[in-house]
Point group: C2
Chain length 208, copies 2
DNA sequence: GTTCCGGAACTGACACGCGATTCCGTTGTG
DNA sequence: CACAACGGAATCGCGTGTCAGTTCCGGAAC
């Protein structure tokens, strides 16, 4: 990843550092007060820099949210792909374990810092058509990943052969989405909710 | 409903009519261009009235979104409560039918006019803390309704006795939420998605 | 039936205020 | 000392909300 040409001088480091700090500060502000309610001045003040300096690092206000969202998306997709290849499992029990592991990863990201789901789900979509599309893209990506897991399971035979892979993936992701939103109010009983999701997935709701 | 004292004069009718037209026009604008991107002038122009007139009917810009959302919420809760009392069913088969019926109602509201989910899920939460809370309240309300259905099923024995009613309700609503969001891009295969949701609920995903 | 009157409703030019972006004098650095 | 980075005052455009003038309407007087 970071192995390409690195002409990083001494002070060049400082610049990149400030750049990241600005992104972080912007994230803080956007998540707390909302995108439209925060001004460039707010972001700058939080860092103790002049707001003119901001424009030495980013084109404009709209420019920076993209970078903020970039980071969040990277964080999430990173957590999802780490050590969780679809073909790493071959039985229902293993699959169940893996889904629990993935659910835990997501719960950690969303639960530890509710600002993440707030920004991604509540703030971002209302900024722009373009940003709304980005969020929808993210959903589609997530659906594709989930679908890959399901397909693998169907092939190996531990999931229903007649599973509508694509739509079931959306349904499952919907439950995860619902969980993420729930953390906005009650970051506590994440565990129980996550368990309930898995019970629905594996056992359904009907009595035996 | 509309049986209370009605001192409605002739011209009074006109006022109420215009009032509603303004709400509808505002809905159109907010859903198309987004809340922050639309000005009062846009709403007024769409109706061919001066934007000053707007202020004779509503306090300010923030005021009217509340009314717009009111109407949407009323439309949804109306569709959900109509002929669908939790205690109207007593077997799993009936319950399954009822959930299909409810799903169809929601699919109709969301699918027929994607502007409804767009405004409610993508625009509204980013307007305001207060509005975000309203949307969360709506989720909570929906969860409570779903939980009531589940509780009834547990009591009559056609749903799992050890069902975590509250959290399972959230999970199910999450799937519905996911469906609503899906309509933003593909208003078509609503049927298949809805079916997939029900399969997950009743049969789970594992192979028998 | 016609005219006139009073008040309600409507209008759009205007006065703000606010925040994004720019610009240039200042400050720090090699 | 030259050069780059910084800061914040100044600029600029935009959208909200106001208000004084105008139009509209129903009903009373003739």
């Amino acid at each position: 990843m970071t192995s390409s040409a690195e002409p990083v001088s001494r002070a060049e480091r400082k610049k990149q550092e400030l750049r990241r700090e600005i992104i972080d500060a912007a994230f803080d502000c956007f998540a707390e007060r909302g995108y439209h309610a925060t001004g460039i001045a707010d972001v700058a003040t939080r860092l103790g820099i002049g707001h003119g300096t901001f424009y030495r690092y980013f084109q404009n206000k709209r420019d920076i949210v993209d970078h903020v969202v970039d980071e969040l998306v990277a964080r999430i997709t990173g957590a999802l792909t780490a050590e969780n290849a679809p073909d790493a499992v071959s039985t229902l029990a293993e699959y169940r374990e893996q889904s629990a592991r993935i659910g835990e990863s997501l719960a950690r990201i969303f639960g530890e810092d509710p600002r993440v789901p707030r920004l991604l789900l509540f703030e971002a979509p209302g900024i722009d058509r373009a940003m709304a599309e980005r969020i929808l893209d993210l959903f589609d990506l997530a659906a594709a990943m989930t679908a890959a897991y399901l397909s693998h399971g169907v092939e190996l035979g531990y999931l229903r052969a007649d599973l509508d892979v694509g739509n079931t993936a959306r349904a499952i992701n919907g439950m995860i989405l619902g969980s993420a939103i729930t953390t906005l109010r009650t970051p506590e009983d994440q565990r129980a909710l996550s368990e309930a999701v898995r019970r629905v997935m594996y056992d359904g709701i009907a009595s035996s």
